[in-house]
Symmetry: C2
Subunit: 213 residues, 2 copies
Amino acid sequence: MSANGVLVVVSGPSGVGKSTLCKNIVTQVPGTTLSVSYTTRHPRPNERDGVEYYFVDDARFQESVREEAFVEWAEVYGNKYGTPKRQLLEALQKGIDVLLDIDAQGAKQIMERVAGAVYVFVAPPSLDVLRNRLCRRASDTPEEIERRLHKASDEIANFKAYHYFVRNEELLQATKELESIILAERVKTNRLDPEFLVENGLVEPVTMKKIAT
Amino acid sequence: MSANGVLVVVSGPSGVGKSTLCKNIVTQVPGTTLSVSYTTRHPRPNERDGVEYYFVDDARFQESVREEAFVEWAEVYGNKYGTPKRQLLEALQKGIDVLLDIDAQGAKQIMERVAGAVYVFVAPPSLDVLRNRLCRRASDTPEEIERRLHKASDEIANFKAYHYFVRNEELLQATKELESIILAERVKTNRLDPEFLVENGLVEPVTMKKIAT
């Protein structure tokens, strides 16, 4: 009912399952796409260039920063992450909803710069469960894991900066909640163009004039 | 995540399919119930007392008005409709989401009196389609139908008073949209009690104190 897509910022602590959730949505919900970020971090096993991230070196990343090609960028644990501007705007203008899977620092930048986006915080069932998940992933040292947990606690306490809070206890349920958020946002009245009502014969010509004034 | 249920006011023109939509939700979505209104209008074929409405006479209705037993009541086309207060509050307090299937006049009263409710406007695909539906229902005279259509046009033009706009073109899709609205509203951060985060081990004790202050 609206010309533009919804920008859905999906954030939350590292290891909470944001990317799996986003991948599920893009596969299951027509009219959605996932923004692919640039990063200077090294690919993890199974990560492919151009799918999970565009993996670039620091020089290339800095060039994009200078060209203002990022909506936001941040350095997290020594690695840089950036959201490319052009692809994102093009998709939104086509009416496609764009999911942005970013950390809390990146989300904060979007909040300051972009109007009308929807902010979803993804939380673990508990910090203990998150600790177990991070240990199983085995890509961090024990010290890094404790640092991440402390940061996660701070981020969760800041939940009010977001519109929605999805607790990823059960992936199917969390996916359904994220899908519901997107479908509900699509039918919000603040996205409804009065022209749509006129074009679709939903209001009489005489009422049309009342809306216009 | 919140102790209280969500009050979902489902309104829209007569004949738009509000009650079918609400019935679908109550059957398909656990944790939802439908508020049954009192009315002085005569039952249509297939309508049962205590299911679609409580059918009462005018004296009994006036008694309930005097006892302030209604959240709202209105007279529409010579018939009175009222939403009973007690059942509604009891369900919400149990954490059950309550759907209220009422006309625009009733919705307006709720907007003025109840805080925190969610307002969904259900629209027909077009006024022409609505005219056909009303003719098929055959419970109104042609004059009544034209009067209803004119009123529908005015109500649709007032869509901004509502949070969501569901166009009931295809019942399955409209049901899914209404379900999504309810599920999304449940996970809104403004419904999230910070106590919940503490009790579920989602924030560290030190962060707990930061939230409290």
